[in-house]
Amino acid sequence: MLFEILPVLLAAVLSAVIWNFFFIPPLFTFNIDNTEDVLMFLLYFVIALINAVLTFKIREAEKKMRDKEEKEKELKLYSTLLNSLSHELRTPIAAILGSVDILKEGKDKVSPRGQAELLDEIEIAGNRLNRQVENILNMSRLESGMLKPKSDWTDMNELANVTIQKLLPTNQHNLIFQENDNLPLFKLDSGLTEQILYNLLHNATLYTPADTNIEIDIKHKSECCVIVVADNGYGFPEKEITLVFDKFYRLPNTKAGGSGLGLSIVKGFTEAQNGILKLENKKEGGAKFTIEIPAETSYLNNLKNE
């Protein structure tokens, strides 16, 4: 409190002294000769003081208002979070418990094929839960500010291949990646970067029609590792483009199955590595995500191999 009001008090004193220096005779000294001028000086000081205190009060009220708005915004975000999460987590849990109930009820009630399908459902639900928990953990790592990128030499061709392999079991798209033999090694956080690419690809597989192309391109451009993921879906409505990286934001009328966290994690992990990201619609249709992460490179041309 004292430290907040101190600056305004100081300003009041200072302005009174300056006023004395320039306007009370003898001019350009701090001296005051007669009683009338002393009174003038004091009066000016009091006015400056009142002015300062009032300003302080107003500022305080404004801050309170802002805090309240902030709190309301946070509350709204929190309830969106709860809605989204409880749906995203409870759906697979419901699938698991429901399947188990039927399987427990009796072998004669469900055909062997039905049983196999229920077991598949449990597996799918487990994987979905695992992915959501992963997303939530990543998000909280970002929010807590505890996320410190660990840079190490990374073969981006390999990273892309590994990521694609992870998606293959459930994939229904043409994932196209042409390995680039001229690519140097990049010094970046391979874990974060793999998650960025995985989330972009997973997002594309969720929201574009099956059997369409999803192209991955990795380049080295002006001290940056550039990752481009382009799909042949419907693209994004122009006015939504700035919003899609927001936490829990989901395009209106999108189908179920996402938490609205995937792309905001892409943004967070990119920015954590001082990178930038861009989303645009391709002229011929479809969306194109571009990630640029500044990174040291190594071509290791002089490596002895004998």
Binding site: L137, K150, E158, Q165, E179, G191, E194, L300, L303, E306
Partner: protein, 225 residues
């Protein structure tokens, strides 16, 4: 042959139950400990063939248990860790863990790791020839054949393959490999490793984009199989 005994040290009853059923139905004998302290006592009283050790125990850190066990126990210890905790995993491997599994893991993965770890327990005599599917590595003659065809390797490349072959099925950390091949001053020069693994894959893998022999363990190291 009597059944190999496995000691599970994990505080979660659900995980213990799951492991117990999985392992017993695959012909292993199972003993369990709920705390690190109890685990140390059980291991000492009746040394098992393999220990599954959870890193996140409530009473004592799994890392400490691992260090204490390693003072006298030289058979396989597989670490159970949570996903995405590479620092924990690398520390445990550097402290003598044989291998690791990240929760949630799948049964096939668990059994493969256990089989390979137990095989290494029993197979202490040095085999001069290592078989890995279509690859045959002769450690003495320093040759590598793929489908009976000789593959030309540089000396460094062979050193790496030979290190991998002697530790087949086991994850090796980047640091460990660098230290072994290039020496201590190079143990952080991971770019060397990336380049050599890349060229090796081109020589030995059917499909270098989807390697079957030299597997990348993200943030940890490589596994040869």
């Amino acid at each position: 042959m009597s059944k190999a005994e496995i000691l599970i040290i994990d505080d979660e009853p659900q995980i213990r139950k799951l492991l117990e059923i999985t392992l017993e139905s695959n012909d292993y004998k199972v003993s369990q400990a709920e705390t690190g302290k109890d685990g140390l006592i059980k291991a000492a009283n009746h040394p098992p063939e393999l220990i599954l050790l959870d890193i996140g125990l409530p009473d004592k850190s799994g890392h400490e248990i691992l260090k204490e066990l390693r003072e006298w126990y030289n058979k396989a210890i597989i670490i159970l860790s949570v996903q995405n905790n590479e620092t924990d995993i690398v520390t445990a491997l550097d402290n003598g863990a044989t291998d690791y599994l990240a929760k949630p893991f799948r049964t096939a993965e668990l059994l493969a790791r256990i089989r390979s770890a137990i095989r290494r327990n029993q197979n202490t005599d040095d085999n001069s020839v290592v078989d890995a599917g279509d690859l045959q590595i002769d450690l003495v003659a320093r040759t590598l054949t793929k489908n009976n065809e000789l593959i030309k390797l540089t000396s460094t490349e062979f050193n790496i393959i030979s290190l991998f072959a002697r530790n087949e099925g086991r994850v090796l950390t980047h640091q460990f490999i660098l230290k072994d091949i290039w020496g201590v001053p190079y143990q952080t020069e991971t770019q060397y490793l990336r380049v050599f693994v890349g060229t090796l894959r081109k020589k030995i893998e059917e499909n270098p984009n989807n390697p079957k022999h030299i597997i990348t363990e993200s943030g940890v190291g490589y596994r040869f199989q």
